[in-house]
Amino acid sequence: MTGMNLDFSDGLGEGNCFHELLECEQGFLRALIRTIGIPGPDVDDVLQDANLYLVANQSKFLPGTHFRAWAAQVVRFRTLSYFRARKRRPTVNLSEQALDLIAGEVVRQFDQQQARLDRLPGCLEKLPEEQRQLMFSFYRDGESLKKLARTRGCSHAAMRKTVSRIRQWLEACIESGIEDE
């Protein structure tokens, strides 16, 4: 396993016991697993796997060190096991170096990202109804861009551009907080 180049020293505090830390970090671990590229239906399986591993190896965790970084390493290792067991690479065939970098970035960004994503419902409400329905078709119903283009009578390229623009707008919206205006 390649190193993740994470700082283990800025800990969450020695007073926190292991199970409290693990309980608190479930949201982070789930986000990390998804960001690495585990498909949605398998996320809970990998999370369980990681939780069991973390519990079984809790003696290796040094109180006062960075629990999140340690847990992220474990998750990253378990996700590789997942991919190997299924004889396939992550959805986007990312290199191990890229996976390490992504995991480290999730560790750094998670709290800030969660705060931004809390604005997402408001931003979705600001979308015109037609665009919101399009995103529902894509994300909820899992329809491909090709199929969406066909059913809506436009070209595949136009549909790709439309979905991308909506996603870009949502990204800018949660960044700028305009959902509150």
Binding site: Q48, E105, R140, W169, D180
Partner: protein
């Protein structure tokens, strides 16, 4: 919509590449390029992670990640928790499938390896809340009664509502569309939807996008149906609402107040509590009241007068669906009349009552209206029919219901009550089963002297005449219940102000 673009966006080509990845249309060349760029460009790495997390959040919010589990993200999320001091009663949800068996086996192995974890956690999440009732147009989207929501589970409702109860007596009613995460029995995350809380057990904290609500011994509702605002309505006790961005900032609300936080300024505006916007407990008694006008009707509906959730009507004949229930009601009588106190919501329930004068005399059209509604044309008096009650009982897991009647005599200023036996002040109410038809008499509900109340009941604001509250001794379970009041026969008054159906469990 104006927006401020974030700084340090990567090159346009990279943005397009990330879009292709998220659209599941990336080529092998794209991935090779991604693998090459991420280690070299921190802004590209940051952007990729941000967009990936947005993408995952959209999947979660819009349901793609759990399409196959419409109601509950039902897989176990197993992580250590401290053993609870309390004993949890009730059924434990059964889990099936290879995943469950595999981890159960793993759990056995781990525990057998020395029981090293037992002091610090239980492998399985303990059950936190039991589904005790559910409501909706179809039950496929809500978990079944008896199901336990475990710690760490997320409840998603596309429609309908579920009532949850913890072993220590806290009651929650969650109404979709929305998403509720049960972190544990003391902490919840309401992402969206409506939540009604009646807390008789331990303390509870509920996180919402704009902050956190801490109960101070209370009954309250949270309206998070809008992504841009949070509304809290307090009906008993109080709550503290803290700003998520600045936890040192908080406000408190007490019984009868509401808080609404919206827009860019977190500071909530205060208003009056409104129960009408919530499913205030699926198992709560159903109230049906006559009201003088829309204003009085709204005042009753926004309250929990006599512990019921209310359906109000302002016409002498008609049909309606009982609020947030499958029960249908139809009614006909001569006319509505309002008298006496109406200061409190309870007094307002009694204030306006339906009268049972002869229909063919001053109210000659009523017979036709009654027949059109499928009600018996008795030529006078009052008739009310409640139907689809069996579905309601099934929905809430009750074995039957009792009937409580609220009545009002009117002014009585030209009325000498003294020579008349008190039991004759009100006409008795007959209860019939029309399931199956023809109607079968179930019994008569007679108002006894001890049931009488003064005209200023319950808030002491004056009035003439008498009010009364009386009901059935026995428990009914018929699907179609018809109540009739004979026509006024001096001195016995024919009227009904309200009916409450109390479920019996």
């Amino acid at each position: 919509m104006k927006m401020t673009h974030r700084p340090q966006l990567p090159e346009r080509d990279f943005i397009d590449l990330v879009e292709r990845v998220l659209n599941h249309e990336a080529s092998l060349d794209d991935i090779a390029h991604l693998n090459a760029v991420l280690p070299q460009d921190p802004s590209a790495l940051r952007y990729f992670v941000e967009m990936r997390m947005l993408h995952d959040s959209l999947e979660d919010r819009m349901g793609a990640a759990s399409r196959e589990l419409d109601s509950i993200e039902g897989r176990l999320i197993e992580f250590p928790v401290r053993p609870r001091a309390h004993a949890v009663v009730g059924s434990i949800p059964a889990k099936t499938g290879w995943t469950w068996r595999r981890w159960a086996a793993a759990a056995v192995v781990l525990l057998a390896a020395g029981g090293a974890f037992w002091g610090g956690y239980r492998l399985l999440h303990p059950p936190a809340f039991e589904v005790v009732a559910r409501n909706g147009t179809g039950f496929s989207a809500v978990p079944p009664q008896g199901e336990w929501i475990r710690e760490g589970q997320r409840l998603k409702l596309t429609h309908g509502a579920v009532e949850l109860r913890s072993a220590d007596g806290n009651s929650l009613t969650f109404e979709g569309p929305g998403e509720l995460t049960v972190h544990n029995r003391e902490r919840l995350i309401l992402g969206s939807g409506l939540l009604w809380a009646e807390l008789e057990g331990g303390p509870l904290r509920i996180r919402v996008p704009r902050g956190e609500i801490t109960d101070l011994g209370t009954t309250f509702g949270i309206d998070q149906s809008s992504g841009t605002s949070t509304r809290i309505d307090v009906f008993d006790g109080g709550v503290r609402f803290s700003d998520s961005a600045d936890t040192t900032r908080s406000v408190e609300a007490k019984k009868g107040e509401s808080l609404i936080s919206s827009g860019s300024d977190w500071t909530p505006e205060r208003g009056k509590a409104d129960a009408a916007r919530y499913t205030s407990g699926i198992r709560r008694p159903l109230g049906f009241s006559f009201a003088a006008d829309d204003s009085e009707a709204a005042r009753i509906r926004s309250s929990l007068a006599f512990g019921a959730r209310w359906t109000t009507v302002t016409t002498p004949a008609g049909a309606a669906e009982m609020h947030n229930s499958p029960v249908h009601v139809a009614w006909a009588g001569s006319h509505l009349f309002s008298t006496g106190a109406s200061g409190s919501p309870e007094a307002a329930v009694l204030h306006t009552h339906h009268c049972g004068f002869p229909w063919q005399k001053d109210f000659h059209t009523r017979s036709g209206e009654a027949r059109a509604l499928g009600l018996p044309d008795s030529g006078g008096g009052i008739v009310l029919r409640f139907s689809n009650l069996a579905s309601w009982l099934d929905q809430i897991g009750a074995r039957g219901y009792r009937v409580m009647l609220y009545r009002n005599t009117g002014p009585g200023e030209d009325f000498d009550w003294t020579p008349v036996a008190e039991s004759s002040w009100f006409q008795p109410v007959s209860a019939y089963s029309e399931d199956p038809s023809p109607a079968t008499l179930l019994g008569k509900m007679t108002c006894q002297p001890e049931d009488h109340r003064p005209a200023d009941f319950p808030d002491g604001t004056g009035g003439k005449g008498y009010r009364a509250a009386h009901g059935s001794e026995e428990t009914f379970a018929v699907d179609v219940l018809t109540l009739t009041v004979p026509v006024l026969e001096h001195p016995a008054r024919s009227n009904i102000a309200a009916v409450v159906l109390h479920p019996v469990f």
